[in-house]
Symmetry: C2
């Protein structure tokens, strides 16, 4: 029995392209003598389709796609993910299904039981959980066909009352096939390996796992499809961050005796691979955002600071240096080195650059407001006018030239509201909004690994918004090395003030920071979508009320 | 048995205030000889607490609040909603619970079984559904204690496999008490009455129902708590859009023979009450957004058009005329009547007004961009520069004066992307972002019901953004009377193109409009929170991917 795994980059709602990709992979597999080819969860429509699932028209297109693909499944079988209609009156109207296609038609439909509904997931919004568990028999081979989360009910704090494999295993399947749509975070590859190896060992059968690859707006899929033998050893792993296709002999996998390289379920994130991994994920995120929307060129405000420098370097890798345009917009508060650093950076990257000073715009705004403001002193208002003037210029460039503006806010400043709404918070996509400031420096070092691309001065100078004379981030914020640690405990770990203070941080500092985080929810509400690289990013995976009084 | 219903306006996470309100109502009820007082679902923490529920610290504050309130329940019992910890290892960590407090302690805890997870609801994100159903006995009285959605599993298309009352009824309760957090839409009061009356009639016992009142950012709660007898007749209904407290004799309700005023389950929305209802909901939404955030004053860009006029009138009702400031920002493309109409409106409303012409700002931007744009023709770019210059001015006023900027975009333009991101789409709160343009006119007529507040010319002139010479909305969009109907079928009814064309609309027009809606998801992602008055508003209740290819 030859099994092919097809790890593909789908486009949500682009049925024509998704079906075409699936069919060409079926043809390739058939030509190679494959018996069964496996595609990912909800492959026909892309993941996550979100509320498009509420449109009968959209579901009909899914059904039509499956029927169309089934016609190609003669002399070969295919497993393809798609929503399907729940035939029962009771319960939600859809299932999240794995279609087993053979002999030119639908042979079996297996439905997902454990529906993730945490962080970025909303599956119970659309799908009824399956409560029947069966296997698929094909060519004398018995398959436990499961969908993503069905294998993820962890033993020490199970989120669901049942684990489908505990029931399915009684039917004595030869292998588990799991089709998934499991989004990337920098710690996810190890978690995934742990879960798959634990399942293989627990049920003593191999696991064939197929994930999505590619970016869907903020959600990144790293691929990492894999085959695990019944000893929990990883037999093979498909490429990360790109489409891949591999063929396995099921018998050889069953007989395979590769042993785990570490204690089962104990794969740990290696810091040396964290930042290359984040880098690759962000490059893919930018690239797919542009090509799936049909855009080619990016514009980025280049301040001479570390954030815009890292975003520029990422954009150049994603889009090519002739598709990235840097705009410097100095004001009277900008230091000379800022513009010089930004020019040097643009030269290192080989990108187009322009300088548009904002002094005349800034003073014109002040003049227009003078009859109302009178002699009121300089405050945040004037700082924001500068940031917003830059926003207007960048959006004008975006409109006139057909560029997408990339946002350069980092996670630390988004957390505490250290940014200007409609100013530096503008953009179609936030590239590093899930990257803490201290991590931005790590990315800069990684970018400079072979040669200096980001000038040393950009990395070494103290961070500043340069919106008033001699301003430094440290005037308003604690040192990022402390701030980021407190933010991590609150945002990623969901610890409350007492627990964070208990770690050893200063009480008044902790309370001040948590208050800043909570009272700036209104700003994050209007932030562009943020490429998600952590287990807890701002955006769809973190949902908080604006009008609230908890710790604020 | 005397039962009091306390319909209160809670503030999410403001435990001190919520507990204090609950306690003072318990004291008032006790003084009136009440046996049992009923508060709403998740009353201690406010609804919806969203991801605050993932913080142990937050849950502990809920538990502490319940224990604190219980101490006051001596000589009186109280039903109070709060999250509670799931003691089982399996399943989610929390229940959505109704605490029955008596004799100074927690007597019973009933957990919610049917967890809404559609539209604006995310309850399965946090809570394990209950699968045990009991009753509470108190003073010889047997109560079926249910929580909101537990009564909402409709017979013709049940969303859940079970209906808790079908099980509970076997224990022969005397009454149903239902505590709820059921958000407003203009059609919701009738739906709620239908559901409660159907339950009363089906199970042949009275229903005592307590809802939230007040606004939590975009979600509005209209109250409308009520008592229904076992014949499905509405015995009494609490006030809408304000806190209320009423006492009933349970025996009298059981013996009450008021008959339904219409066929059970067939209450229908009367158009005469739709617009007053929307008006009151929006006024409450503005008022609560400000007082819960601790703000008093609003600033609004006043163009002389219908949208800003209606928002100004609503804001004056919500905040008082001395707390609303209108800014007129004419450009070279503004017509004389626009400023004159806006001045007359401000005078009718008795509000402060200022005029800040934007010509000098606009030309300064054009000058700064000229070295890059050269001779490229006038296009959307220049229109957007005007809108964004106004955004910068309004935000500067907001920053300097401590105002909140109210956004004036309507649902029709948000749907098709007829607005400028960071321009007229700025603001802390979108007041009429869930009101179609044709409905905005209805609101204007309602506002003018007793005397002319909105000048006739604002209502009668053709809508225009006035961003280029002689521009009219109808240059880019179909007539709003057609556009709004097509949008309603697509957004509210979730009909696909074939179904909408089947109604009789022009095919190319339908396809063009649906494409505009879908391809402008990126703009709506960055829209301020929108007061929700319809069954399907943009925002948390409508979740769509940005990078998608369906109908776009």
């Amino acid at each position: 029995m030859k099994i092919a795994l097809a790890q593909l980059n789908y486009h949500i709602g682009n049925f024509e392209q998704n079906v075409s990709k699936i069919k060409s992979n079926i043809a390739k597999a058939k030509a190679a003598g494959v018996d069964l080819i496996v595609f990912a969860e909800l492959a026909v429509c892309g993941y996550p389709p979100r509320d498009f699932l509420e449109f009968n028209d959209f579901i009909q297109l899914c059904t039509d796609s499956i029927n169309d693909i089934a016609k190609d499944c003669v002399g070969i079988a295919a497993i393809v993910g798609s929503p399907s209609k729940n035939p029962n009156l009771e319960g939600k109207n859809l299932y999240n299904s794995a279609f087993f296609l053979a002999d030119g038609k639908v042979k079996n439909v297996c439905n997902k039981s454990l529906l993730p509904n945490y962080d970025v997931f909303d599956e119970y919004r659309y799908f009824e959980p399956a409560n029947r568990f069966e296997t698929v028999d094909y060519k004398g081979f018995r398959i436990a066909l499961t969908i993503c989360e069905d294998l993820w009910n962890v033993d020490d704090d199970p989120m669901y009352p049942i684990s489908p494999m505990n029931i399915i295993i009684h039917r004595k399947p030869h292998v588990i096939i799991n089709i998934a749509a499991s989004p990337f975070s920098y710690s996810h590859p190890e978690e995934r390996e742990n879960v798959l190896c634990k399942n293989a060992l627990k049920y003593k059968i191999p696991v064939f796992y197929v994930n999505h690859v590619g970016a869907q707006t903020e959600l990144l899929f790293d691929g990492g499809s894999m085959v695990v033998n019944d000893k929990g050893g990883v037999v093979d792993e498909l490429n990360y961050f790109e489409e891949d296709f591999r063929i396995y002999d099921a018998g050889e996998v069953i007989d395979n005796d590769v042993l785990p390289t570490h204690e089962i379920g104990n794969a740990k994130l290696n810091d040396d691979i964290k930042f290359p991994r984040i880098y690759n994920a962000l490059v893919m995120g930018i690239r797919n955002y542009f090509n799936k929307l049909g855009f080619k060129k990016a514009i980025i405000g280049s301040s001479g600071g570390i954030d815009s420098a890292v975003v520029l370097a990422l954009a150049v890798d994603a889009l090519g240096n002739d598709h990235v345009h840097a705009i410097m917009m100095p004001s009277e508060f900008s230091s000379d080195h800022s513009v010089n650093d930004a020019i040097l950076l643009a030269e290192n990257l080989g990108i187009k650059k322009d300088i548009i000073p904002i002094n005349s715009i800034y003073t014109t705004f002040l003049g227009a407001l003078q009859p109302i403001f009178g002699d009121l002193p300089f405050d945040l208002t004037e700082e924001n006018i500068q940031a917003r003037s830059r926003g207007v210029l960048l959006m004008a460039m975006s409109n006139k030239m057909g560029y997408i503006l990339l946002n350069t806010s980092n996670k630390s400043e988004l957390a505490v509201g250290y940014g200007t709404l409609y100013g530096d918070m503008c953009g179609g996509l936030s590239v590093i909004g899930d990257v803490y400031k201290t991590e931005v420096y790590e990315l800069a070092n990684y970018i400079n690994r072979d040669k200096i691309i980001i000038p040393e001065n950009i990395i070494s100078k103290p961070p500043s918004a340069e919106l008033r004379p001699d301003q430094k981030d440290s005037d308003s914020l604690p040192d990022y090395s402390i701030l980021d640690k407190i933010l991590f405990e609150y945002i990623e770990k969901r610890k409350g003030p007492k627990e964070i203070i208990g770690i050893g941080f200063d009480e008044s500092l902790v309370r001040k920071i948590l208050k800043m985080v909570n009272s700036n929810e209104y700003k994050r509400y209007q932030t562009p979508p943020i490429l998600r690289i952590s287990p807890k990013a701002f955006g769809m995976g973190r949902r908080l009320p604006i009008v609230a009084k908890y710790l604020s």
